[in-house]
C-alpha cells in the first residue's frame, strides 16, 4: 500500500518535471509545431473519446498481439536452444546472422505481401520482439547453474520436469526484462509502420494530423502514443511482480 502511494507520488513528480520542461521548451522554440502542454492537453482531452481512443485501441491491439506472439514463439525455442548444445550448434549461427539485420527493412516486402491492414504491422513487430526475446531466453537458459539442475535431477526429475521446475522459472525475470525493453522498440516500429502505410492507428493519426498542419491534433496523438507505451510498460512490470515474486523479496 505504501509502495503504491510512493509510486503514484513519484509518477506525479516526474509528470510535473516533464510538463515544466515541455513548457520551457515550447516558449523557447515558439513555433506552432511545438504547442505548450496546456493547449496540447486540452486538445488531447477534447479529442480523446471521439478520435484518439478508437485509434489507440487499434494500435494497442496490434502491439499486444505482436508481443504476445513473439514471446510465445521465442521463449520455448530460446530455452530449448539454451539447454541443448546439439540444437544450439545448428541454430546459433542462423540466429547470429539474422539477429543484427534490421527487420524493419522488410516492411515494404510485408506491405506487398499482406496489404496495408494490421497483418504486416503485426508480422513486423512480432519478428522484432521474437529475436529480442529469443536471444535473451537462450542466454538465460545457458546461465542456469549446473547445481540447480543436478539437485532437481537427484530428486528424480526428467527433462520435462527440469524445464518446469528450473529452466522456465530461472529464465522468467530475464524474459520480462527483455519484454519491457522491447515495448519501446515495439511502439516505435508500430508508429513507423502505421505512418508509412495504413488508414488507422495512432501512428496514422499523428502523420495525418501533421499533413493537415493540425499541430495540436498531432500532439494529442503523440501524447496518446506515449501513454500507450507507459501503460504497456507498467502492465508488464505488474505482471512481473506477480509472476516473479521471489525477485522482490529482501535479501
Amino acid at each position: 500500500m505504501r509502495a503504491a502511494v510512493r509510486k503514484i507520488v513519484g509518477y506525479a513528480g516526474a509528470v510535473a518535471i516533464l510538463l515544466a520542461g515541455w513548457q520551457v521548451l515550447a516558449m523557447i522554440v515558439d513555433s506552432s509545431a511545438l504547442p505548450g502542454p496546456a493547449p496540447a492537453l486540452q486538445t488531447f482531452g477534447s479529442l480523446f473519446f471521439a478520435a484518439l481512443l478508437p485509434e489507440a485501441v487499434v494500435s494497442a491491439w496490434r502491439v499486444v498481439v505482436s508481443m504476445a506472439l513473439g514471446t510465445a514463439l521465442a521463449v520455448p525455442l530460446g530455452l530449448v536452444l539454451g539447454r541443448s548444445p546439439r540444437i544450439d550448434a545448428v541454430a546459433a549461427p542462423l540466429i547470429f546472422l539474422t539477429y543484427p539485420v534490421p527487420k524493419i527493412v522488410f516492411l515494404p516486402v510485408l506491405l506487398v505481401l499482406f496489404g496495408i491492414g494490421s497483418v504486416p504491422k503485426i508480422v513486423l513487430i512480432t519478428l522484432i520482439v521474437f529475436f529480442q526475446i529469443l536471444v535473451t531466453a537462450r542466454d538465460a537458459a545457458r546461465a542456469i547453474p549446473p547445481g540447480s539442475v543436478l539437485s532437481v535431477r537427484s530428486l528424480g526429475a526428467g527433462g520435462a520436469q527440469v524445464f518446469r521446475h528450473v529452466v522456465v522459472p530461472a529464465a522468467l525475470p530475464d524474459v520480462f526484462t527483455a519484454l519491457r525493453i522491447s515495448t519501446g522498440t515495439a511502439i516505435a516500429v508500430l508508429f513507423f509502420s502505421e505512418s508509412i502505410a495504413g488508414t488507422d492507428g495512432i501512428g496514422y493519426y499523428i502523420i495525418d494530423a501533421w499533413s493537415r498542419i493540425a499541430y495540436r491534433d498531432m500532439f494529442a496523438g503523440i501524447i496518446a502514443m506515449a501513454v500507450l507505451g507507459v501503460v504497456l510498460y507498467e502492465l508488464l512490470e505488474m505482471a512481473e511482480a506477480r509472476v516473479c515474486r521471489w525477485t522482490r523479496v529482501g535479501r
Binding site: L150, S151, G156, P169, R245, R251
Partner: protein
C-alpha cells in the same frame, strides 16, 4: 535397506583435449545405517563419488549398488544435499521442501503432512511461505535437510553441505545432522573438507588419494555420536591422525602453502 557397495569404480570425464580421470578403481562398502565421512585433497573426485552413488554420474567401469540393486539413476529414497544451488529461489520454503515428493507424484495431502513434519523438525515451520532469498545461510541448509527428511530418505548424500556457513552456524547444523542421524539411523555419506566435521559426523572417515581418487586409508572412529565427543581427547587425537594422513596425500599442497 541402504547398504552401499562401490566396486572398482572408475569415472573419467571427456575434457577439452584429454580424458580426465576422477576416480580410479575405488572400492568402498558402507553398511546399512552407517554414517561415513569422506575427505581428501581438493579435486580428488569426492563429489564424483557422491554423484555416482546418487545415480547422476555413470561409472566408466566398476559398479555402484545401493541396497543390493545396481544404481541406474536417481533412487526413490536417496537424498542429495549440495552446498549451494540445491534450493530453487523461485519456490517458497514449503514448495522447496515438497519438491522431491511433487516430482515423485506423492498425493497432495500426504505431501503436505510430510513437509509440515520435516519443516517442524528443522525449526522452519513458521517460514513455510518465505522464499530462500529471505532466509539466512543456516536456515537454507536446514531447508535442504528438510527436503531430505520429507523424502523419508534412507540414504543421505551430502556434498560439503556446510562449507559456506560461518563457524557458529556450522556447529549448530552439525549438531542437527547428528541428532537426525541418531534419531533415524539412515545411511549417511558426508563429503567434507573439514577434518573436525569428518570426525564429528563420520563413524568411519575415508581418506581419498589425489585425483584420480581411490581410498588411501579408512580411519575407524567408534566414539562418533557419543555425547560431548567433540570435547574429548580422543576427538583431537582422531583429528591429528587424519591431518597426518591428509598431509601424506599432499592435501596441504607442496611445502607449507
Amino acid at each position: 535397506m541402504a547398504r552401499v557397495d562401490v566396486q572398482g569404480l572408475s569415472v573419467t570425464y571427456e575434457g577439452v583435449d584429454r580424458r580426465v580421470g576422477a576416480l580410479n578403481a575405488l572400492d568402498l562398502a558402507i553398511a546399512d545405517g552407517e554414517p561415513i565421512a569422506i575427505i581428501g585433497p581438493s579435486g580428488c573426485g569426492k563429489s564424483t563419488l557422491l554423484l555416482a552413488v546418487a545415480g547422476l554420474v555413470a561409472p566408466t567401469s566398476g559398479s555402484v549398488r545401493v541396497g543390493g540393486e545396481p544404481v541406474a539413476g536417481p533412487r526413490l529414497h536417496t537424498a542429495l544435499i549440495l552446498q549451494d544451488f540445491g534450493l530453487l529461489p523461485w519456490k517458497t520454503v514449503m514448495h522447496n521442501a515438497a519438491l522431491g515428493l511433487e516430482i515423485r507424484h506423492v498425493p497432495a495431502p500426504e505431501r503436505a503432512r510430510r513437509v509440515a513434519e520435516a519443516l517442524a523438525r528443522v525449526g522452519l515451520a513458521e517460514f513455510a511461505g518465505a522464499y530462500p532469498g529471505e532466509l539466512s545461510g543456516g536456515m537454507r541448509q536446514r531447508l535442504a535437510v528438510a527436503r531430505a527428511l520429507a523424502l523419508e530418505a534412507d540414504l543421505l548424500l551430502m556434498d560439503e553441505p556446510l562449507s559456506a556457513l560461518d563457524a557458529l552456524t556450522r556447529e549448530d547444523l552439525q549438531g542437527l545432522l547428528l541428532d537426525i542421524w541418531r534419531q533415524r539411523g539412515h545411511t549417511s555419506v558426508l563429503v567434507t573438507h573439514s577434518i573436525e566435521e569428518a570426525v564429528y559426523l563420520g563413524r568411519r572417515v575415508v581418506v581419498l588419494t589425489p585425483r584420480p581418487g581411490r581410498v588411501a586409508a579408512i580411519v575407524e572412529n567408534p566414539e562418533m555420536g557419543d555425547d560431548d565427543f567433540r570435547d574429548t581427547p580422543a576427538f583431537y587425537e582422531r583429528c591429528a591422525e587424519l591431518r597426518r594422513l591428509l598431509a601424506a596425500e599432499g592435501a596441504f599442497g607442496e611445502g607449507a602453502s
